[in-house]
Subunit: 306 residues, 2 copies
């Protein structure tokens, strides 16, 4: 829109990047924010409406001009592969491969700092190494739509007491500490032998476009940042939210409250809303820690100090 870009999120984890949604103009917003393109490893698409998708051919072309040659992974709901293949007819000769994952049912685990940058489907959360895990949830919109959780796990602290009690030779402490199993003098040693208690990582949740659901409150549980659509600011527009399968600010705030998240960031405002801040009170009265998103909004999430 003339005065606001379409909703999109770029996550930066130690220089590697994940993008969620890519409406027309997203690459321009990225240029303004000077995010760079080359380190973009994953694109998550919530659903196949144009305002979440039509920037993809342009972004992928620009990525091709950035010197990227590693494969990129695109995750989306059922049907996304056909749509992306259609959009890509006009983009010839990309210097990298595109892997498409439709409607993932398990967790997707990714060690973004490893060279392969390949996502593995895993069955449960893996807290043993510092990595990123992606989880998807089916939402309730006018066509197949996914919400996403992003977990950044934190490696447990090194415990010399545990290493000693497990009789681990000092020589391999450091290697085990980085999460690698070690065979030393014909005996296998596992990382848990030198690591202490689990530590809290970071959880970020991204929910758009949908009606509120009980499964969402469960999905976003204890998120550090819950990014949620707030298409309608005014409570009187509830009938529009119901008809068009969106949410009001109040409904998003109710989800934030039920999910006991740390912070709610509202985005995806109706073009009819010029000043979303005017409706902030409708969310705040239900969930105090609310931010109204704006172009170029930037936030750092860090591990808790100990």
């Amino acid at each position: 829109m003339p005065n606001r870009y379409l909703s999109s999120l770029l996550m930066n984890y130690k220089g590697r990047k994940i993008l969620i949604d890519c409406g027309e103009g997203t690459q321009v917003a990225m240029k303004i924010m000077k995010t760079g393109f080359k380190a973009l490893d994953i694109i998550c698409i919530t659903h196949a409406h144009g305002d979440h998708l039509f920037g993809l051919p342009g972004l992928l072309s620009t990525l091709g001009n950035s010197g990227r040659i590693e494969p990129i992974t695109i995750i989306g709901p059922s049907g996304i592969e056909e749509i992306i293949n259609g959009l890509m007819v006009a983009v010839s000769g990309l210097p990298y491969e595109i892997n498409i994952i439709e409607n993932p049912k398990n967790y997707l685990s990714l060690d973004l700092l490893a060279n392969s940058k390949q996502l593995r489907q895993v069955n449960e959360k893996d807290f043993s190494t510092e990595n990123i895990m992606i989880e998807a949830l089916e939402l309730d919109h006018s066509l197949p739509c996914l919400g996403y959780n992003f977990y950044v796990f934190r490696r447990p602290k090194f415990s010399p007491e545990k290493a000693t009690s497990n009789q681990v030779p000092k020589k391999i402490w450091q290697k085990l500490q980085t999460g690698e199993a070690v065979n030393y003098q014909n005996k296998m040693y596992e990382p848990y032998m030198v690591l202490g208690e689990k530590r809290k990582g970071i959880k970020l949740s991204y929910i758009t476009d949908t009606r509120p659901l009980d499964t969402i409150a469960e999905f976003i549980k204890d998120s550090d940042l819950f990014i949620c659509e707030g298409t309608y600011g005014d409570n009187n527009d509830l009938h529009k939210a119901i008809k068009n399968k969106h949410m009001t600010f109040s409904e998003a705030a109710e989800l934030a409250d039920k999910g006991k998240v740390a912070e709610l960031l509202l985005t995806h405002f109706s073009p009819a809303i010029n000043e979303p801040e005017e409706y902030k009170v409708n969310a705040e009265s239900i969930f105090k820690n609310t931010i109204i998103g704006y172009d170029g909004f930037f936030k750092s999430l860090t591990f808790e100090e100990e």
Copy 2:
């Protein structure tokens, strides 16, 4: 780009509209210019590079939301139909039809003010009624690419002397004058019987992306406005222009000079150029009447006063 929209031209003829090229963000530029969408009858695409095309799915979706139900015509080079069909996989349920014309070899004539708004392929220029004619030329780029001429013809002036000498009954003068043949008292009367000499209309030429060609100088002959790519401002970038199949400002100005056009409007500047005005002298020293295009540039072309 953050500081400049992609090159695109919207023509407005008595409220009906023709768009040439539609890169990412063109619909945003149209919103800023408050052009409206509903009256857009024709889109001409020069070629299938993203910066001329990737705004199409978004624009056509927006057009669908504008209440348009009349068919729209898209004209482009060989191969454009497959690419447009790909882009449109993500756009479902448009309330209007899309007619695609690939690489037209003849003139396309359109009476934009008639209800049908259908393009007819014709073999020669038709000066008898006030209408618009589109002519395409194959250019020399890295993939199939078309340049376009747009003619707005001007109906010849009514000549009472001619009507009298042709013995045309006064009762049908007005009807013949509007370009319609009339059967009156079992005799056919044609418009030429009441019309005087041809009058100069308007010719607009749009050439991007290409190397200069002799056929271009011929094609743009006597244009009132010659819109031309000037990808490189600096004459020292000629090797880049040759390699990437583009033109320098100087080369565009040489075409303008050879074609004896009234005015040259440069557009399609390389992202490496921040201030195209800095290179204006390179065009002006060859062709004086040069304009450097900018976001929102607007110009009216009118029939000559008599």
